[in-house]
Symmetry: C2
Subunit: 104 residues, 2 copies
């Protein structure tokens, strides 16, 4: 049984991942480091919005920042996020298959 304090931290981690835009950013970073500009284009959002999301991800130690001149490059710093996505994906897939089986 986990302590309430631990559950608070776990919930906070889930909260950071509970945003499609942030998941999209992480997906882009999966294929390597990217600048804010590159990310902004890749996820089709605005620069301030992407910067804000990156801040949230960094505060949770999911991404790391590297500054070069006037550019900021971000990269994944915690690969467990992909493990988490995989587990959720598997569960969703399973649910859909069960639903489908009802009509089989």
């Amino acid at each position: 049984m986990m302590s309430p304090e631990a559950l608070l931290l776990v919930a906070a981690r889930f909260k950071v991942l509970a945003e499609p835009m942030r998941l999209q950013i992480l997906q882009v970073l999966k294929s390597g480091e990217a600048s804010v500009n590159e990310l902004t284009e890749a996820v089709a959002s605005t620069q301030p919005n992407v910067s804000k999301h990156l801040r949230v991800l960094q505060d949770e130690d999911l991404v790391a920042r590297r500054q070069v001149g006037n550019n900021a490059f971000y990269r994944i710093s915690d690969k467990t996020v992909f493990k988490l996505c995989d587990v959720v994906c598997g569960s969703l897939k399973n649910n859909f298959e069960e639903q489908a089986a009802i009509f089989a």
Copy 2:
């Protein structure tokens, strides 16, 4: 690479788990089925609040409901939630250990 639609569903799943009270409820259910009253006592909340959280968990197919007379018994219906918690826990533990190592 996951599609934006898939990311939406994954984010929704994370959102349901991003609440300490819901994680607490799931933890209690880990040791077996429980009625709303039992859950309300176990998590030290109010009955309407617990009912609402249970609804959210049920809508996401994380718990299942069984009615007996005037009582409603809930149980885990998707064990992957514990896998998810374990992965997050491991990551958090790792982060803390890295922090600690700085002072070693």
